[in-house]
């Protein structure tokens, strides 16, 4: 037996299990229809979840992109202060952030593909649900119980397949979305701990040392500025003295 027959058997077993709950044909039809509507809702929710996850990753991409020049600047400051160890640490962070950025691009693409698949699934399923609804009413109105059984079997099989297919698509998209959310949370943590502004509050020794270098540079810059200002305002006085 090939994979196609095995797949058909799996799909058939899946929707038989779903429909075996009701014995009365009319009840079976209504029951199936309710599950179809639920599934449609699930696809819509699945699409919304994928879109949310994608937006989060896009936001992260932007955040990381603004992080790169900051890390460069930190490395430069550390080098100016003769702290090659700190400069190296900042550049290691930068390399890591760059890696994350590349990963993010791929993940966003994956989510986009999932979104498209789910949207196509939704379109197919909703067309079939509508066709099923019409057929359901016809069967109920026009057929004897025995004939109805056969007709119901046909309609339920056709849509049952689509339901199984859609169900699998939703579940796989959910798995992907959850994986991406988990990774996104990890990257968020990286970004938070890496920001220049947070150095004094975020706890690691490296952060504090980088903050010190940064503060030292700021102090040096301010000193130089003040000296310059003093010199500028002092010079005319000295000139005045000389002329007296």
């Amino acid at each position: 037996m090939g994979l196609m027959s095995r797949t058909s058997a799996i799909v058939r077993a899946w929707y038989s299990k779903l429909l075996d709950r009701a014995e009365d044909p009319a009840v079976t039809l209504d029951y199936s229809y309710e599950r179809q509507l639920e599934l449609l809702q699930n696809v819509k929710k699945g699409i919304a979840d994928v879109v949310t996850a994608k937006k989060r990753l896009e936001l992260q991409t932007k955040k990381l992109e603004t992080e790169l020049p900051k890390l460069d600047e930190q490395a430069r400051q550390a080098l100016a202060a003769n702290r090659e160890d700190l400069a190296r640490a900042a550049l290691e962070r930068k390399a890591f952030a760059q890696q994350q950025l590349q990963g993010l691009d791929q993940q966003i693409e994956d989510l986009e593909a999932q979104q498209e698949k789910l949207a196509a699934s939704e379109k197919r399923l909703s067309a079939k649900v509508e066709a099923f609804r019409t057929q359901k009413e016809t069967i109920k109105a026009q057929y004897s119980a025995a004939e109805a059984q056969v007709k119901i079997g046909e309609a339920a099989t056709g849509i049952g397949e689509e339901m199984a297919d859609t169900g699998l698509a939703i579940s796989r998209a959910q798995d992907k979305t959850e994986q991406m959310q988990a990774r996104a949370a990890a990257v968020d943590e990286l970004v938070e701990s890496g920001t220049l502004e947070d150095y004094t509050s975020s706890g690691t020794q490296l952060d504090r040392e980088l903050a010190q270098v940064s503060a030292q540079n700021q102090v040096d810059a301010d000193l130089a500025r003040l000296k310059g200002e003093l010199a500028a305002s002092g010079q005319p006085k000295e000139l005045e003295k000389e002329t007296k």
Binding site: G2, T7, K17, K128, E130, E154, G167, A169, S171
Partner: protein, 95 residues
Amino acid sequence: MIVRVMGVGQFRLEGDAVSRLNELDDRAQEALDREDEAELDRYLDEMAALVRRDGEPLADDDLSASEAIVPPSDMTLEETKQFFSDEGLIPDIQQ
């Protein structure tokens, strides 16, 4: 015959294409038996491509059942094994 490609839709496939599809199906089964994920994906992709290329797509609102169903090619080997196991991969619908 009507063939469904999971995640893609249903198509009507005739003649020579059907026998080529069955051949690929046998090879896909062998690849799965060998646990060769790359080969398995390749055959499943080829099957999907063949059906899409040589088949006539069914209308979205057609309720016909399929005589053959091509499983998705983007599953990992583990997922594929679970798909074909008793445990299954298609989630139940809650009542």
